[in-house]
């Protein structure tokens, strides 16, 4: 009894302490993260108080998978075709160049480390490198939108920044989904021919498309469901789609990205769906951080060597990717070589990818991936706001503030 009460006391004090520290950071530096939730998760978990033992952490898997699917679906809703069609071609070119360059640089560096420094076999090195390169490529659309809204720059670059954050996420999730299909884990039932890598990729895509079409039919016309029932229907859709992917050892985030993309482009209820997903994004993100904290058991090698190296690689890839896209691909009027500085915030998708990786590859260094990701989330969420602010200020004077103006800086953000 005393142990449990001590655990509760440790957690309460730990939470309040973490909250006060990060609240100061929030006030002083505009920090928008939720690192206190990693702390409380870690305190609740088996490594500290054991109030949540390893089995109970595993029991939370359905909630985690729901959260993974939730974030994937939200990402899918960003890509509404009628608004995407209005985006300037130069913006798209810069955003894709930035995402692909960042991913490629991070992938090359990570492959070199895992293959030649650590000595891992090629398939292992590829899976680890692609996963971590995907995490490195991610940047938080929410954090970027918040800053762009706050700064109201006259420059034409901020909409590119917002688009780049979304394309980063798209490239990262697609690469991660692909690597899970190509290096597929798990056996099929006896008597069934194991699908090839290409077939698994098609199955992954097909599950997403089938889910999208079925739930388009299931949700029906706009106004048909009240908020509570829409929540249940969406939660059900996400659980089914994520559950199918989880069952097949594929990526629920990729599947629900397709689901979200289809729902937002096919139904008249797309505004309700997007609004509901956005309103629940922060609790879902924080729940993931909490779970990640509880599941986190860092090894000393990960903490001292690989994770700091990953942080360094992400910074370099981000800056070089930004320089290539903003300095060389962009036309003169959109030139911004420091683009990468505005995209440092990592956000919830990174944690989601790391947790998803741990579900599929429990024997392939999941602790390392989670440690590197959490360290990045904690560090970048502290510095990202300042760096992005400096970048936006470098673009020129702010627009005058107009009372009651609707923020709609890019066609993509206009989805909201």
């Amino acid at each position: 009894m005393q142990t449990t009460l001590t655990a509760i006391a440790v957690i309460t004090v730990g939470y309040i302490f973490a909250y006060l520290i990060f609240d100061r950071l929030r006030d002083r530096y505009g920090y928008v993260g939720g690192a206190e939730y990693v702390v409380i998760g870690f305190l609740l978990g088996p490594r500290v108080t054991g109030l949540l033992d390893a089995g109970q952490v595993q029991d939370l898997t359905p909630i985690v998978s729901l959260a993974l699917g939730w974030l994937g679906m939200l990402l899918g809703t960003y890509f509404r075709l009628p608004t995407m069609a209005l985006i300037d071609g130069d913006h798209l070119r810069i955003a894709f160049a930035e995402a692909v360059a960042t991913f490629t640089i991070a992938l090359a560096a990570l492959l070199a480390i895992f293959r030649y420094l650590v000595g891992a076999p090629w398939p292992e090195a590829a899976v680890l490198s692609v996963t971590l390169a995907a995490v490195a490529t991610l940047s938080s659309p929410v954090a970027v939108d918040a800053l762009v809204d706050r700064f109201r720059s006259r420059s034409r670059v901020p909409p590119v920044l917002q688009l780049a954050a979304r394309i980063d996420a798209l490239v990262a999730v697609a690469a991660f989904g692909l690597v899970l299909a190509i290096f597929h884990q798990g056996d099929v039932a006896p008597g069934v021919r194991p699908p090839t890598a290409t077939e698994w990729s098609v199955i992954n895509l097909a599950v997403g498309i089938a889910s999208g079409v079925l739930f388009h039919l299931f949700l029906g016309p706009r106004g048909h469901l009240d908020e509570g029932r829409l929540f249940v229907a969406l939660a059900g859709a996400i659980v089914v789609a994520s559950g199918a992917s989880y069952y097949l050892n594929l990526s629920p985030i990729f599947t629900t990205l397709i689901l979200g993309f289809i729902l937002v482009n096919s139904g008249s209820a797309h505004r309700d769906v997007t609004r509901l997903l956005l309103s629940t994004e922060r609790p879902v993100y924080l729940a993931l951080l909490l779970f990640a904290g509880a599941a986190w058991s860092p090894g000393s090698v990960d903490l001292l060597f690989i994770a700091p190296l990953f942080v360094l690689i992400r910074v370099v890839a981000r800056f070089l990717g930004g320089r290539i896209a903003g300095g060389y691909v962009a036309p003169p009027e959109l030139r911004a070589p420091g683009l990468g500085r505005g995209l440092l915030a990592l956000g919830g998708l990174g944690v989601a990818l790391a947790l998803n990786y741990g579900q599929v590859y429990p024997d392939l260094h999941p602790r390392l991936v989670l440690t590197a990701t959490l360290l990045s989330v904690l560090l970048f969420e502290i510095v990202a706001s300042g760096e992005a602010s400096a970048f936006l200020m470098s673009l020129g004077p702010r627009a005058p503030e107009r009372v009651g103006e609707v923020t709609d800086l890019t066609p993509v953000a206009g989805n909201r």
């Binding site: 009894m1 109030l51 109970q56 798990g186 199955i203 599950v207 029932r229 989880y246 609790p283 909490l290």
Partner: protein
Amino acid sequence: MIRRLVVLALLVGGALLLEPLRVPTEGVIAPRSLFLFGILLLTADTFGALAHDLGFPRLVGYLVAGLGLGPSVLDIVPPGVLQDLSMMKQLAVGLIALLAGAELRINDLVTRYRAILWILALQTAVVLLGLTVLTLILRPWVPFLAGLEVASLLFVAFLFAATLTVNSPMVTLGLLTETGADGPLAKTTLGVVLVADVVVILIFTVAFSLAQASLGGATAGALDTLFRLLREVVGSILAGCLVGGVLTLYLRFVRRELVLFAVVLVFATAAAAQALHFELLLSLLVAGFLVENVAPVRAEPLVDVLHVMAVPVFVVFFAMAGADLRLQAFMALWPVILAVALTRAGLIYAGTRAGARLGEAEPVVTRYAWTGLVSQAGVALGLATVVADRLPRLGLAMHTVIVGIIAFNESVGPILFRYGLDRAGEIRVR
């Protein structure tokens, strides 16, 4: 509606197609549990809408969906999956308890305490006595009474009656949330059901100890058992005070991310309840009550959040409760089950009317309060499981009969209560 049913059928078909692509694995959470949980959610929501269109409470639709997909009928959601997802049910119970506590206003209790106490006392006494006598009368047809001596017979019948005295706070709260009902009937019924939850558990404890002692299982331990269960109740109330304190501090100083905080609080309390042996439902009920009525903070933000979460939470709870029902238990002994269930409803009617009259309740309470006391669900199932686990000689047979009666009460109770609320003119949301 037909479109949604077709989609559900296609989803189930898709599940069958995907099945060979993975060898079933044994894990803490089997991967397919999640997928089937999603299908259960969507089916429950669809059947809830169907029930609503037919004029029944949505809860009945959720239960029917769970029953249909569960082990009793189609076995699409097998027992192992329900076991895997028990944490979701625990979360639902905890959140509903918190909401139930916060819905209890001290002013309502003070103004209605006479009616609540009289209804509770007479309803409990009449049902206990009546069902004990009925069980003795039905002895030749009741399988678990065969071959018992007189003393054992009496105490086992008393235990059986005590288990059937339990109401369902979950159904009451679920229906009040669904219908937005507010008025004398809604407030009195909620008060009776929540106070009864504590009283009936104490009566069950006494009955269980007596039955166990009479069967020669643990004569010396009977008082110990009583003491231990009393300690659990007191411990639950103290734990509730502690959780209420934490909630108050959070609402006073932090007041952010209330959805997440409520979820974490429930899981943390559940873990502590398991370690320290107290009741999750009772402790969170007390916590919610204290925050709403005693704490120097505004509880509205928390209550609003809990109301928003109520719909999905009820879908999860009742769909899983439906899947837990065993139709076979009902089919095997349906004459006994029907006789006991109908007599129970009659006894509740008589006891409640008499109690309401003595408590000088409003006429609408006197007429319809009984409709809210027929339902049985999670608490009753929990007590039935205690009987099955700890009285091996006859517990399993008694469990079968009780589960059959609960299935009946769980299906009919919400319909009756909605009817009562409707007749009382207290339904706000149609």
